[in-house]
């Protein structure tokens, strides 16, 4: 068991480094790795594997595998698979696939690591890979956005290291299970870093402009893999400690409302989707016990949305209303969007029901309100004019979308009990109606190209300091 797990962790790294020597094998090897991880993830979920082991001795790397990591691994594998299919015929260099393999490997290791240091190393390497991916299209603009990401992530991880040092000083181990006797400032430092990496609430404001500038396939990877790696450790820690769960829940609620409101007033489709990501990541961590299914649903749907947006010629909603969009792309956008809203027969519905079942009534009320806003955001796609596509869509895009939307449908199996309650089904059908009604009433007139100063580098760093102070207050 242990040997198999180690072999599976090492596989993407070995393959990634080998690809440099054997560029013709790049796509085939990446495909094999994604399929292996898909099988491993599904195996963990279906057999409910729950195991943990320590490599070397008492100071070694501790890993733990459970169904929660299984869901994240499946998401990771499917999104990598979709990215691979999408770029299959586009003539990307082998270097891109090296990055893809390394990204996959780091994210997988994040999902099974159970001590602060292996988490640190993998998140840092993930940050470097993301920097290279964002800067992949050679332009100064993408380079600056990538550099901004790297700086924010570097400062966040330095905070994280200080927190880890304080944890070590308290009881001389780096295991997750040793966090709680540590002083509150250690908890605050670790949380502020994970919030920034996972793009929760205001610390996730690096995300919107990154998604605008990055290539569509990279935006899909960000939504499906990178942010999941950030929020996973928040979910893990909330499951271990109820004190942390309370703080994380507060931030999750703030993020859900914040993301929904700003997505509603965004004019650029890509910014709209990014702000919606901010909100949906809040949904992932608000009920850590349901995080797996929700992350799977959101990763697949958002990756598909970003790939579809990449097929458009205009990105501003006002232009799209005049010019329209090709019909197949419109259908993909509507299906994936309503998947996130939580329409039955797509995985969003069971994921939302499961998440809400863990929450207090007042939180459920707030989330229903945010759900109406989300429904409004995605109902905008329904009102865009569409025309039959004259030129056929790229095969890569079509197969990638098939994989993602197919996964979105099959993920229903994660929680079939959701379909037993009639009230839940009724509510789920009501939400899109409310959304369409609000769009018909004309909420679209609030859209504006406004971009706050808070997305600048200095402000992103400054916000981290403010959050840190707030978190110390909360943790005391």
């Amino acid at each position: 068991m242990t040997e198999l797990a180690i072999a599976w962790i090492l596989l993407p790294f070995v393959a990634g480094l080998m690809l440099y020597l054997l560029p013709p094998l790049a796509r085939g090897l990446t495909l094999a790795i994604a399929l292996v991880s898909l099988c491993v993830g599904l195996g963990i979920i279906i057999h409910q594997i729950n195991t943990s082991f320590i490599l070397l001795d008492s100071f070694g790397v501790s890993l733990s595998i459970d169904p929660l990591s299984g869901y994240f691994i499946v998401t990771n594998a499917l999104v990598i698979l979709a990215a691979l299919l999408h770029t299959w015929q586009e003539g990307y260099r082998a270097f891109f696939y090296v990055l893809l393999c390394l990204l996959h490997g780091c994210a997988n290791t994040v999902f099974i690591s159970a001590d602060f240091l292996s988490l640190y190393v993998n998140i840092e390497v993930l940050g470097i890979v993301v920097f290279l991916l964002i800067a992949y299209p050679p332009s100064d603009r993408s380079l600056w956005i990538a550099l901004r990401y790297l700086m924010v992530s570097n400062v966040a991880m330095l905070f994280y290291l200080i927190g880890v040092a304080l944890v070590y000083r308290t009881n001389y181990t780096f295991a997750f299970s040793a966090l709680m006797p540590a002083p509150p400032e250690a908890v605050a430092l670790i949380l502020v870093a994970l919030l920034a990496k996972g793009a929760i609430f205001v610390s996730g404001l690096w995300l919107p402009q990154t998604n605008v500038v990055a290539a569509p396939v990279v935006a899909a990877l960000l939504a499906g893999v990178v942010e999941n790696a950030g929020v996973f450790s928040l979910a893990r820690l909330s499951l271990l400690y109820s004190e942390i769960a309370d703080i994380v829940q507060l931030f999750a609620l703030a993020s859900i409302l914040f993301g929904a409101v700003f997505a509603l007033v965004a004019e650029d489709v890509r910014r709209m989707l990014s702000f919606s990501t901010l909100g949906q990541l809040g949904w992932v961590i608000i009920a850590p016990a349901a995080a797996g299914l929700y992350a799977l649903m959101h990763g697949l749907a958002k990756a598909s949305l970003f790939l579809s947006v990449g097929q458009l010629r205009h990105y501003r909603l006002s232009e799209l209303r005049q010019e329209g969009l090709p019909r197949p792309v419109a259908i993909a956008l509507i299906i994936a969007g309503y998947g996130i809203v939580g329409v039955p027969f797509l995985a969003g519905f069971p994921a939302k029901v499961l998440t809400l079942s863990y929450l207090e009534p007042w939180q459920q009320g707030l989330l229903y309100g945010a759900g109406c806003l989300t429904a409004t955001i995605y109902s905008k796609f329904l009102f865009l004019p569409h025309y039959p596509g004259k030129t056929p869509l790229p095969v890569g895009y079509s197969t990638a979308t098939m994989v993602l939307l197919g996964g979105l449908f099959l993920a229903n199996a994660g929680y079939m009990e959701a379909y037993r309650s009639g009230m839940g089904l009724l509510r789920a059908f009501l939400l899109p109606l409310v959304g369409c009604g609000l769009v018909a009433l004309g909420v679209s007139r609030w859209e504006s190209p406004w971009r706050g100063a808070w997305e600048r580098l200095e402000h992103l760093l400054g916000v981290m300091l403010l959050l840190l102070l707030g978190l110390v207050g909360l943790a005391l």
């Binding site: 390497v125 600056w144 330095l158 070590y168 600048r456």
Partner: protein, 113 residues
Amino acid sequence: MIFLQASVFVTILVGFLATIVKKNLLMKIVTMDVMSTGVVALFVVIATHSGFVTPIARGGVFDTAYADPLPQAVILTAIVIGLSIQTLMLVAAMKLARDNPTLETPEIDQKYL
């Protein structure tokens, strides 16, 4: 000891605040390095909880008050990662300097954001 720890935290804080206050991109990268130096020093200070002697056993004697080897070993990884990130940031700054010779971050932000 308290004095040492205090100066480590001051180094980290100065590095971080300078990252926000300094406008020049190169200065930002350098101040980030100051901050990470502070973090490395913090790990070294924490390693002294069991003693100050370098943790290498000499002549089979184990009863000396050795420093804790684990934080020192661990921070090596962080130093290597920090170095590679520093290099990447400097390369990016080099490329950006071609079109933005002053490297003032507010200007670059205005131009590219």
